[in-house]
Subunit: 309 residues, 2 copies
């Protein structure tokens, strides 16, 4: 049976492209019966990258066990971010750059996690170690994931090694990645084309924080006022979703990718958010988060600490 | 503060030697402020290996947070097999070859797991990828862990890659590893020098199986009758320990390393063991496990399945 390779739910550009670049790694490693799939459709940003590098979007799956007994996870490991029937299949490989939680296997497996800015940076290392060829197309897709996750190397998750990899990928891809990257990020900020529901789902992840269900979504924009104009509708959608899914806290972070600042809206227990960032929501229900661009590094850790404190 | 590197509780030869070989890897990687330590004293088998390759035994620690804020784990990841105050320190690295369970971090980390016969095989790969030097002493210590975990390449956990690594290590160490390995394994089978308590602690690991506390110990021998002669005393010690620690099942596997067969004794719920192996304990309280030599591959998976079934 074909081994399925996929990233997390509500896939971002790194999740989608990692499935493609890691499937190619597996093929070069002699494991030809693999397929890159996805747990959702590409965002406008991701579609821009796929179109630019002439790559078809991966097939979307809802469940895995109906068609395979073996999967490989990229760019995630937490159960609630993965395919819902994951406990019915064998996880053979995990490549990731996140914390580890809600992850358990019955048997030994392969795992490769590094503290780098994108999961594609980890996969780049694996190609180099194995001496595998990185085609210009694969380099472009890897770079797209790296650019997306690090907001063009501006996020505090960016390491010197990511910058080195970015330069190497630029050489292989033969593309001005600074210019391409800004175009790609901007392609993901056309909020007017998206419904409120799509905005709160687009890049959302669930977390278990000390027994509490926390949902955190991130919306990139080049103009925060576009988000403010739609705040009431977004909050209605958040409330409906939180009621339906039982989230104790739903936090949406709107990030100005040009100025590297964010603003948060929350539904549920605001006090933990305020404790996490040491400041209050204003009377318009917004919490200013200057300099915050990384959910992983600047939102999840302080919020986890607030729930554990 | 010095980063501590250690293997699991009741350390076997792979756990002890991995701490040493991975500390050397870190040093060659420019991370000089590391110390290989251990969560217990070396067994007779491990001491034989350390003496042979002129390596001092690692310092034994009971807790970590009293002296450091950062640790690296080798040859394990499950919390109940690790240092008891692990939740008070940051886990920066995990190198392992076991299943993943009871493992959670607040922040991203480095992890490297491969489905190989020993954790030292994984570390060998990391040295080669980084182009680091493997001294004859380090090669001998790596080989000792590999020999111990695979019973001289006879365990079903042994992969072709482990055999290739064994041959490479033999060249570097300049030692006849077949002959050395048999001496090392035999050095660990002098049961007459060990108390009943030491026999049940020596290579014991705890597992959470569907909410049940399971303890599994393995005793290597060249003569199973030596173990039979002491069965009553061993079972008394098992009972006392199970009462004290609250184990629902305590299983001791005595393995004949020359014939690659095992026999099990159990305290607690025998039915799960019988379900796991599809056979009964005899009237002397023994369950024959022909061909079973690997706890990881031949005992933990069927027992886990029996508890989940």
């Amino acid at each position: 049976m074909t081994t399925l390779i996929f990233g997390h739910q509500s896939p971002d550009t790194d999740a989608i492209t990692c499935a493609i670049t890691f499937a190619e790694y597996q093929r070069q490693n002699g494991n030809t019966d693999v397929e890159a799939v996805a747990l959702g459709t590409p965002s406008a940003e991701t579609q821009f990258a796929l179109d630019y590098f002439k790559q078809a979007a991966p097939r979307v799956i809802k469940t895995a066990a109906n068609e395979t007994d073996t999967v490989m996870l990229v760019d995630h490991n937490e159960a609630q971010q993965s395919v819902p029937d994951r406990d019915q299949v064998t996880i053979e490989y995990v490549v990731d750059h996140h914390r580890v939680a809600n992850f358990e296997t019955a048997a030994p497996l392969n795992m490769r996690l590094e503290t780098l800015g994108s999961c594609n940076s980890v996969i780049y290392h694996m190609y180099k170690e194995a001496g595998f060829e990185i085609s210009p197309q694969i380099a472009g897709l890897m770079a797209s994931g790296l650019i997306s996750d690090t907001l063009l190397l501006k996020s505090p998750t960016t390491t010197d090694e990511d910058r080195r990899i970015f330069a190497e990928l630029q050489k292989i891809a033969g593309v001005d990645l600074e210019e391409y990257g800004l175009q790609m990020l901007k392609a993901g900020t056309n909020l007017s084309a998206r419904t409120d529901q799509d905005l709160i789902d687009g890049d959302a992840k669930s977390f278990d924080m000390n027994g509490t269900h926390v949902r955190i979504d991130q919306v990139n924009t080049v103009d925060l006022s576009e988000v403010y104009d739609r705040q009431a509708g977004i909050e209605d959608a958040m409330k409906a979703e939180a009621d339906k899914e039982g989230y104790d806290l739903f936090l949406v972070i709107a990030t100005d990718i040009l100025n590297s600042d964010s603003v948060g809206f929350a539904v549920g227990d605001h006090s933990k958010v305020e404790a996490a960032f040491g400041k209050q929501f204003d009377d318009q229900g917004r919490i200013a988060l200057p300099g915050v661009v990384s959910r992983k590094k600047q939102v999840v850790p302080p919020l986890t600490a607030a729930y554990n404190g």
